[in-house]
Subunit: 489 residues, 2 copies
Amino acid sequence: MPDTALPPTIPTAPVTPAILESLRAIVGDKGLIADDQGKQPFVTDWRGSIVGNAAVVVRPANVEEVSKVVKLCHDNGIAIVPQAGNTGLMGGATPWPSHTGIVLSVGRMNKVLNVDPVGYSMTVEAGCVLQTLQETAASHDRFFPLFLGAQGSCMIGGNLSTNAGGVQVLRYGNARNLVMGLEVVLPNGDIWNGLRALKKDNTGYDLKHLFMGAEGTLGIITKAVLKLWPAAKDVATAWLAIRDPQAAIEILSEAHGASEDNVGSCELMSRTCTDMVLRNIPGTQDPLKADTEWFLLLEWTSARPKAEGAEGMAEKMEQFLADQMEAGRVIDAVIAQSEAQARNMWVIRESVAPASRAEGPGLSYDISVSISKVPEFIERGLKAALDILPSIRPYPLGHIGDGNIHFSFMGPKGMDRETLKQYSPAITRAVNDLVTSLDGSISAEHGIGIDKLDELSHYRSRIELDTMRTIKRALDPKNIMNPGKVLRI
Amino acid sequence: MPDTALPPTIPTAPVTPAILESLRAIVGDKGLIADDQGKQPFVTDWRGSIVGNAAVVVRPANVEEVSKVVKLCHDNGIAIVPQAGNTGLMGGATPWPSHTGIVLSVGRMNKVLNVDPVGYSMTVEAGCVLQTLQETAASHDRFFPLFLGAQGSCMIGGNLSTNAGGVQVLRYGNARNLVMGLEVVLPNGDIWNGLRALKKDNTGYDLKHLFMGAEGTLGIITKAVLKLWPAAKDVATAWLAIRDPQAAIEILSEAHGASEDNVGSCELMSRTCTDMVLRNIPGTQDPLKADTEWFLLLEWTSARPKAEGAEGMAEKMEQFLADQMEAGRVIDAVIAQSEAQARNMWVIRESVAPASRAEGPGLSYDISVSISKVPEFIERGLKAALDILPSIRPYPLGHIGDGNIHFSFMGPKGMDRETLKQYSPAITRAVNDLVTSLDGSISAEHGIGIDKLDELSHYRSRIELDTMRTIKRALDPKNIMNPGKVLRI
């Protein structure tokens, strides 16, 4: 938890024995976890950095039970922390230490209710594990384009509540863009049935977008209608040594047309980042020995099978890369000749997080700016951080097509966690000041939760915070729904 | 105005001479229109079916003036009807006859502030005419994919406020999907600066999606950051005679992959619809003499120029159409061999509205259902309407990729407007009951405005209407912002 975070005021009505019995009457014995050991994974975030409390973990089996539980809590002023996979990075799903209410886990609601391959949609419950949904789509020759590190354990309800990002946003948009309809239990227990499989519906305010990204503070997402896309049939993956970040955005800008709008991913990595992975993760290999500070992992994905003798993604990419070398943006490049080669490129990208943990303590900022400002941000951001701590070791990387940089640093060699922590507030302030001066976002995809509560209130305008608070107070006047997250009320 | 619409209760504070002078002090003489003749186009909808009132039309030159005007109205309880191009079909931008406040037109705020081709975005003022924005994008080798009938006079502020649709939604989404950031003047006059050119920003509630589709009832959109796409370089347009609507959705379902996700448009037309156009619009030609009741206008658009000798969009489409004929879905088809031929196909589609006006009185419903339910909707909907008035002449058409059918009817031959009007409530109820039973939308792209106010409150759940009202009351407690539209408060 950041040093700056003082616990916000949250409702402290207790779960009395009588209320516990009422909860049991709704969800049954198997829907209640009241012992400390059983509660532990639900009150601690996955990194172990936030250790919260809850009187009881409630695990309803269906939306009617969720509704009854929420109504009971509403009538008694008991605070609720909605939770799906509890894999968030900002503590949005983890209770505050001062929390005396319940954790409401949607994990038992994990059914795929319907798949409509012709209509390119599927209807699912909030507790479905993301990877299961990817696999369900694939088994119908369709693609559900939400991919992120935690996909084996995160759940779609949490993904939507935090408007998750990942490596396919460039092409398909954030989680909110993958949704046609939602079912949500409101803070008073009412069930809002917005579970419509509609691509167009201009009948009043768009409520679904309000619940997505609200991190469970306005209601509990219980079901969703998700959009699907055709499955990939022809994929070209390449590893590019490039001149600099400015070259990266120019390459991407031209790749859209050259690939027929089929750019799937475009991941920027600094040499320090790839070196860190190669140093720490056994079995990884440098795809390209090149004398440059910057690399790009570029993937084009087409839903049309490559026909015998016809031009496929790889041939189009080859032509494109030759043009980009000619233009001086690409120094050297290799297109994967097999799935194994492509996999190796992706393993490097996906191993950044484990490699950084092996490297010891560090700092990381999940920021975004408009795509055109990425080079300026990186240059000025590095200077700002190095001015404060010259021996810190930056390894920037990012989803460049989203203007989203994971602006990351290993601590100086030999510096322990506590010493590094002393520099953290100054570096955080410098980075976030720069982001704000460039009209960027201090949390591109990870959300606010507990961790960035104070950063948000520092950087957002009074008018914007007031508008958010007005909405929160109107929809949750008792402040029982995930209180003390996103906003101080 | 529909017979069922009773005027809602709206604030009636008058614009006194003193307030008029305060308005003049803010916007100057050229920002005020107080004479009846000058006001006329601002208080009447473009079809002339709604004739409203306003004390004065106020035309601010910039957001600061908008803010001051709104603050003045807020402090004095004066109702405001925000207006851009006033081309909406539901009366959302046109004042009620009982309106005693102002019309606030954004028409003078019509500057393109910035175009960023590398970052694929542009920042514009709300009063920019849509077609100007299409042309601006094209002049930078970019594409702004909002295309609709009124594009020569509608303005982007209105397009976003109604979340406009059009013929490119299938690929690019509704207007709300084309937006990265907004600037909005709130009902109390505060300026919300959400003008961020960010593809990712998970910092609290997504306010922009709340204002889009709210039809000006929650605030006035004054600027927007719009997304751009690569300009088209290789286009294949075809006219297909098809088996039936079920074939249409199956053809589309397979076209996504075959075109490499490059389906730009897919418009379904009934034979009665195309016959009506050919009969009424001079110069139009039937692209295909085929014995079928249904046609499809299919367009694939790639951003990659066709290389000499390589397979382009037309070759891919030819192969696809052969497969679809083999499968019995396509009866006959022709791919346009020139821009003129493609243009002729589009003229037929675009001439449906003028042709229907030439044909005399009619009825039309802008509905959507999930794509897979389109065939069932058409079959049952036709039966329901013909059961009520057997001699009515249906000519259904629609954006099939959006599940959006313009479910349209010419009146029986020789029947006058007044007689047809007597059947209208029963047919409307039958169509909308069917839509609702299929979990569809009674207004897919045209919105609610005045016209569908009572339909919305009839068909939406109490919980959904209450949630919308809660938001409206919280953000606009004095109910001055476009009162009596979308919702009765």
